[in-house]
Amino acid sequence: MNAPVFQMRNVSIDLDSPKTPARRIANGIDLELHRGKTLALVGESGCGKSVTALSAMNLLSAPLRISEGSILLETEAGREDIARLNPSGSQMRAIRGRRIAMIFQDPMTALDPVYTVGDQITESLCQHLGLSRKDAWKRAVELLRLVGIPAPEQRARNYPFQLSGGMRQRVMIAIAIACSPSVLIADEPTTALDVTVQAQILELLRGLGEDLGMATLLITHDLGVVAENADEVIVMYRGYVVEKAGVDALFDNPAHPYTQGLMASLPPADGERIELTPIPGQVPAITEDIVGCPFASRCPHVMPKCGETMPALGAISSEQSVACWLYPAAAEARP
């Protein structure tokens, strides 16, 4: 595989607090994004997915911050570590919306209610590409057409409240792809939408990613979405990457007990009625101090060692790594 356009290397995110010591929300995240490919980041609520997504844009704001690691972006000018850039500085602004773009979860609230959607698309075109208002508007209409909005000339003059949820998410996608970014981060882009609309939006995203050669980071809690859209998958649990695999390998052979638990709680695709097996317990609260593996309290295979140290991610095959003591050949304690 060719060189990644975007890499997170050992990125940790801390939540600062004036009274208690900083809490680690994400621990040593490693991920790579490749042109035209989709990496899915999976996990349940509170596992650190969205924070990781925001950190990829260097959009974290106090009390959250990137405490270590590097976030490398390939540009024509070479490789840049955006974790080193001032989050509110002009260098970071020149990257946001231009090189890396983001689609947010809830299209109902993610668009400014007092401006037309056309105006909101032109904003980044004028900012990054220096287009005139007139040219930017033409381009905005083109983009609306590209994301499958009928009668884009009229729709561009609409306000967000005049559009349906699916339409608004298409507008969000149009905004994101406006400046042809090389990296697209989609944070639960279909969670707030109807199921029928979900499929259309995901198909649109996948098509655009391939056509425009964008590397996509798809954040979701829906394994069905992963199976359909991802090339590679990262499973997160309580701020740790617990498994990383090609999409087929993950579904054929889920290695981490948490991944296995997620699979067991999925209804089978053939519609057969079976009893679903939920994972017992809950994700430990962020305020809880945990020694060792955070999944130990819910794990059916828990061993004494799990309560002592968290293993690092180790390869169990050419396209699958797992962080679990069940795989002693691969596992080693985290540094």
């Binding site: 993610a110 668009l111 209610p113």
Partner: protein, 305 residues
């Protein structure tokens, strides 16, 4: 939008009619005016003559209807004290009050909005604490008291500003600031909370993710969205300003309708009091209508429905 305007104008007329009805009722509650209009030694015949002269011998409903129809043509009757049409007296004093109220409003908006924005941006810092301190003082001090304190400090002790009269711009400063203080506090607080609310919205994060500079985010998206509650409050505050003017004009001897109203009440000059109330009602209703239309313009969801 046109039907909205029409509906809103109708509401203004209803409001004014309602206020006039209350004024009419109040006059009746105040009792027989001939008793204090005539000297104590006046005869019963003189009293009945005056009653007929004032039209107070007619049935109540006729009095009410003629009061309303006269008012509609701008005729509130003769001022009992000055013995000339009451409304023109009020109209003559009105510009001074409008000048005072708009100066107070301008002072409060120009200080409150920047301070509110700053307090929102520098939340929980000394700027924020300073701003909320000003807000507490501004809202807690009654205008007649803060007015006297200002006179004591700036006129008597420091001798910087005149304490009374309406000669020149300097004379306007103290009354305008005193009158605007309370409004400033309110506008500042709503600006702060409204900005904080808007800046925490998802769409602001979207704009930031587009790589748009912070000042554009602040003014184009932030202030524009925060403006609706601020503008609505400013409209409401103008009522408070006109009411506050009654006290302020007395404290600073400002020759406006406020002082006129106070004097008219002292001399039980009912047509004059009614004329002041009518003018204030009309002004307040029109300003509120204007503000409502402005809010509708600011919000596309109202504008387009």
């Amino acid at each position: 939008m046109l039907t909205y305007l029409a509906r809103r104008s109708l509401l203004v007329i209803v409001t004014i009619t309602g206020v006039m009805t209350i004024l009419f009722g109040l006059q009746k509650l105040a009792g027989d005016p001939t008793i204090f209009l005539l000297p104590p030694e006046a005869t019963e015949t003189e009293r009945l003559n005056l009653l007929r002269q004032l039209g107070l011998d007619r049935p109540l409903i006729i009095q009410y209807i003629s009061f309303l129809t006269n008012a509609a043509t701008g005729n509130i009757g003769l001022s009992w004290k000055y013995n000339q049409p009451a409304l023109p007296i009020v109209l003559e004093a009105f510009p001074a009050t409008i000048l005072l109220a708009t100066s107070a409003l301008a002072f409060s908006i120009l200080t409150a909005v920047p301070l509110g924005i700053l307090a929102a941006l520098r939340r929980d810092t000394w700027v924020d604490t300073f701003a909320s301190g000003i807000a507490v003082i501004g809202q807690a001090m009654p205008v007649y008291w803060s007015g006297l304190l200002f006179i004591l400090l700036f006129s008597t002790t420091l001798r910087w500003l005149p304490s009374m009269g309406s000669e020149g711009w300097l004379a306007l400063i103290l009354p305008a600031i005193t009158l605007g203080l309370n409004t400033m506090a309110r506008i500042m607080r709503i600006t702060r909370s409204s900005m904080l609310d808007v800046l925490g919205q998802d769409y602001v994060r979207t704009v930031r993710a587009k790589g748009i500079p912070e000042y554009t985010i602040l003014f184009k998206h932030g202030l524009r969205n925060a403006a609706v509650p601020i503008v609505a409050l400013i409209g409401l505050q103008l009522g408070g300003l006109l009411g506050g003017a009654v006290l302020i004009e007395t404290v600073f001897s400002w020759p406006g309708v406020g002082r006129l109203a106070v004097n008219a009440v002292y001399s039980r000059d009912f047509p004059l009091v009614q004329s002041v109330a009518l003018m204030v009602t009309i002004t307040f209703s029109l300003v509120n209508m204007f503000v409502d239309v402005l809010c509708a313009m600011l919000n596309p969801q109202i504008r387009l429905n």
